[in-house]
């Protein structure tokens, strides 16, 4: 089976994010970038499915020139080849969905996997929008029963059940766990507990250097023009008033009762 996985280059969440004084963006000096953690989970799931069913894992990403580093990381994990759409600034979800749709039309994968949200914009829309644009069924927030210490996880058993031209997905939703069955080709977005992504091995990194990344400019794709979501300005969030340390439980109870008045 052919699986297309989208990955996004995002700021490393361990690095403190600071807004520029003029609100036009965030400080990028000294910034480190990584593959969006949910996309890593998607790549991992794709590799497991490929190894179980045979086929190919193709990585697609929209981003600046250095996004190739993140595509290379996915290739080092074991993906087969990459598609890099070169864009000099961020594209909004509708535009991203439009670009990915065109890649899907060319590649015709059986399954498209995406992280449920990108940890920079936290929008969480691209997967669903892409499914709609393609007229495909979707299953978002894919997860699994087995916890991450289980034998199935250690043996890299895929969580998504693919058989008879359908994929069965367990979803983490409000109030419980929902199972849906979607006809292939389908779009699935992945959630935190679907799997533990592997680290790229040294042999994997060496092999990845030779794998193909096809680069094309954003201008080669229709529908990726004026942003529907325009960022007007950025500002730091409201700061909380500094708190205090209390010496013991008795002091805490006293504060909660007489000062905060919550008990």
């Amino acid at each position: 089976m052919k699986i297309l996985v989208t990955v996004k280059r995002v700021e490393d969440w361990e690095v403190k994010i600071r807004v520029k004084p003029d609100g036009s963006g965030i400080e990028t000096e000294q910034m480190k970038y990584v593959v969006n953690p949910f996309d890593e989970i998607a790549v991992e799931e794709a590799l497991r499915l490929r190894d179980a069913h045979g086929g190919e894992v193709v990585i697609a990403s929209i981003g600046v020139k250095d996004t190739a580093q993140q595509i290379r990381t996915a290739l080092a994990m074991g993906a087969d080849r990459g598609l890099h759409v070169l864009a000099d600034s961020a594209v909004d979800p509708l535009a991203a969905a439009s670009v990915f749709k065109q890649l899907v039309d060319e590649e015709k994968p059986d399954l498209i996997l995406l992280g449920k949200q990108a940890v920079d914009d936290d929008m969480g829309q691209v997967g669903t929008m892409l499914a709609e644009k393609l007229g495909y069924g979707q299953a978002s927030f894919a997860s699994k029963e087995d916890n991450l210490e289980s034998a199935n996880e250690k043996n890299k058993v895929p969580a998504l059940k693919v058989q008879n031209g359908r994929v069965e997905v367990m979803r983490e939703v409000d109030g419980g766990i929902e199972t849906v069955s979607v006809a292939l080709p389908a779009v699935v977005t992945v959630d935190l507990r679907l799997n533990l992504p592997r680290y790229a091995s040294l042999p994997g990194i060496m092999k990845a250097k030779k794998k193909e990344i096809k680069e094309r400019p954003l201008s080669a794709f229709a529908g990726a023009t004026a942003p529907g979501v325009k960022i007007v300005k950025l500002e730091p969030p409201k700061e909380r008033k500094a708190g205090i340390r209390v010496a013991d439980v008795a002091a805490l109870v006293e504060k909660l009762h007489s000062e905060a008045k919550v008990i």
Partner: protein
């Protein structure tokens, strides 16, 4: 005149409390922009929910009531939302952030080539909103420039809507939905029932992190929650370890809560967790590690072993209550 349509979720024939802030958002935008507010309820046998929705002063409450809507399916609910958008002439479509709205709103937005802002926390005007980015480390002001606009709104920022006198007109929507025609099929839903207050709307939340050490250790969290009639939450570490269901996870990619009182037990305070609770009014943190980042957001921080501190806290609270 730009009409607003708000999807309000129901469960078991009653409006979901966590979905009501979508109405508050709708009321706020209508007041600012002058358009008429419409509400939509989807499900099966939801007459009572529709009547409840009619108490919020909306121009109209649309109801899509059919056995086809008994179980959630993105494609079928999207069809209902689309019918309501057409019937209401709405150019702004909104719903409180939830699993359902996170699926349905972007699906219809893409169908209509409409821009969408996720998890809005404030209204600037009828097309400009503030929303968190980078796990709440940045507050962005965004403008939606397409003719039709979509928003999910953060429930904890908008609160419960004001009930208005009178009753909105209720209109039944005929939505032709053939479940067999869809590429997705509902298979099962395993509900995780809890007697405790819903995290999104609880006044008090007691939350446990890695410091609880085990599923057994998490009972300490529950004991304190029981005393305070609180909702129970957890950090990602605890959910990943399988000690509690995923539904309890509080954080950037889990639930966002903003109760009057948030008590963090054995939680270190990773940025992703803080993103889900730093809007709480009063934050208490109990952790063995004096360097734990949680102390940076706590109003009251106690460096202590939670297993020693919580029983003392329970005794202390009981004493104060007399």
């Amino acid at each position: 005149m730009s009409n607003i349509l708000v999807l309000v979720e129901q469960s078991g024939g009653k409006l979901r409390k966590g979905s009501l802030p979508g109405i508050t958002f709708g009321q706020a935008v209508a007041a600012k922009g002058g358009g008429a507010l419409h509400l939509l309820v989807i499900g099966h046998n939801v007459k009572a929910a529709a009547e409840e929705a009619a108490g919020y002063g909306a121009a109209k409450v649309f109801v899509a009531d059919s056995p086809a809507f008994t179980n959630f399916l993105c494609e079928s609910y999207t069809a209902a939302l689309e019918a309501a958008v057409k019937a209401s002439g709405a150019t702004l479509v909104a719903s409180a952030t939830a699993s359902v709205s996170k699926d349905v709103l972007p699906r219809l937005a893409a169908r209509l080539d409409a821009a969408m802002a996720s998890d809005v926390v404030a209204v600037v005007d009828a097309s400009t909103f503030k929303r968190p980015m980078w796990a709440g480390n940045v507050l962005a002001t965004v403008q939606l420039t397409t003719p039709v606009k979509f928003c999910t709104v953060r429930g904890t920022e908008f609160g419960a809507p004001e009930k208005k006198g009178g009753a909105s007109a209720i209109e039944s929507l005929a939505v032709a939905v053939d479940l067999d025609s869809f590429k997705s099929k509902f298979v099962a839903f395993r509900e995780i029932k809890s007697e405790r207050p819903d995290l999104a709307t609880a006044d008090v939340v007691v939350s446990g992190g890695r410091g609880v050490k085990s599923a057994e250790g998490f009972k300490t969290v529950e004991q304190l929650a029981d005393l305070l009639h609180a909702g129970v939450g957890a950090s990602r570490a605890v959910v990943d370890a399988g000690w509690v269901p995923n539904d309890l996870q509080i954080g950037q990619t889990g639930k966002v809560v903003a109760p009057k009182l948030y008590i963090a037990l054995g939680i270190s305070g990773a940025i992703q967790h803080l993103a889900g609770m730093k809007g709480s009014r009063t934050i208490v943190a109990i952790n063995k590690d004096p360097e734990a980042p949680i102390f940076q957001v706590a109003d009251y921080g106690l460096v202590a072993d939670m297993f020693t501190a919580v029983p003392e806290l329970i005794a202390g609270i009981k004493k104060v209550r007399g």
